[in-house]
């Protein structure tokens, strides 16, 4: 891993936001209204115009500050599978294994973490059965064990990031 390169890429990624952008991001995270003029309702809450909410939301999405504007589905309730998985990969092989793992379309985000289990990724599949198949395929392709850690219980928190 090249630490210097990591820091440089992190610095580049920060986006500059003005006060109204921050107010909008914070105001939208609680949910988008389902009513005939939803942008106007948000605008009323945040003391903006409807046009401004539409324009800024669209721009923040284009800039990559927002990755989504719309619904986030619950995989299991839609009939799909979802799990968190980890692998223990020697440093020398890490990059090659990351590439192999990420080549599976079922792999969502994937992070290096500082532990013997040093690669952590989320698998999302069309059916629950497909999770164990994909795990088997990743193990076959990489030669390393995949530790499957599906959630057994969820303790509810509201996920918000103050902008």
């Amino acid at each position: 891993m090249n630490k210097k390169e990591d820091v440089a890429s992190l610095v580049r990624e920060e986006v500059s936001l003005d006060e109204a952008d921050r107010r909008l991001i914070n105001g939208l995270q609680g949910g988008f209204p389902v009513c005939d003029r939803p942008f106007a309702e948000v605008a009323g809450r945040l003391d903006m115009t409807e046009e401004e909410v539409i324009e800024r939301t669209s721009r923040l999405l284009d800039a990559g500050v927002l990755t989504r504007f719309g619904p986030l589905y619950h995989a299991e309730k839609l009939g799909g599978g979802l799990t968190l998985a980890a692998m223990k990969i020697p440093d020398a092989e890490f990059d090659a294994v990351v590439e192999a793992v990420n080549s599976f379309p079922e792999v969502a985000h994937n992070y290096a973490r500082d532990h013997a289990l040093n690669m952590w990724f989320v698998l999302a599949t069309e059916t629950p059965e497909r999770i164990s198949e994909v795990i088997g395929e990743i193990e076959a392709k990489t030669g390393y064990r995949v530790y499957n850690m599906p959630r057994e219980a969820e303790f509810f928190v509201s996920l918000r990031f103050e902008a």
């Binding site: 719309g70 995989a75 799909g80 990420n102 289990l117 952590w120 999302a124 219980a153 928190v157 902008a163």
Partner: protein, 170 residues
């Protein structure tokens, strides 16, 4: 619960997000031949049923300066894990909290919580607060900060004809 064909066609129509127009639900309705009221009723039901777990924006936290992203894992006796998990969830700096299986001998931890912060030392202090307040100072735990990020998309998966984005922040 369960989705009918009209739900599925709505789900497919908004898979890539909502349109940026004054009446987004009316516009979606025009695309798939439903009226605005039906679209709104179906969306409200899917939110109420939890099929849609969040409806709104997904923030790329990294771009907002949240770089100290810690997965904090604990080895809690099984009988206490629900109580402690619910307790953790009341702290406003805890962003996600799940029970997951141990994988012995390599992985003895069964309770996972995420703290997304801007500074490492603040996050580490928050972990101390959790341990102290919940009486867990003697419980084995680890703090795994995230390093390089290789992929971040909302997990997408194919359901019939739509690629859907599902709740998948680890």
């Amino acid at each position: 619960m369960g989705l009918d064909d009209r739900d599925r066609s709505l789900v497919a129509a908004i898979a890539d997000g909502l349109p940026f127009v004054q009446r987004p639900y009316a516009e979606i309705g025009q695309r798939i031949g439903m009226d605005e009221d039906e679209i709104m009723t179906r969306l409200q039901r899917m939110v109420a049923d939890g099929v849609i777990s969040r409806f709104g924006v997904v923030v790329r936290h990294h771009e907002l300066g949240y770089r100290a992203n810690a997965m904090v894992v604990w080895d809690i006796p099984d009988a206490q894990v629900a109580e402690i998990g619910n307790r953790f969830a009341t702290f406003d700096f805890v962003t996600l909290c799940y029970q997951r299986p141990r994988r012995l001998p390599d992985w003895p931890y069964n309770l996972f919580c995420m703290i997304h912060g801007r500074q490492r030392d603040v996050v580490l202090e928050q972990v101390e607060v959790l341990a102290r307040e919940c009486g867990l100072t003697d419980v084995p735990r680890k703090v795994l900060f995230s390093g390089r990020r290789f992929k971040q998309r909302g997990a997408r998966y194919d359901a019939k004809d739509a690629e859907l984005t599902v709740e998948a922040l680890s």
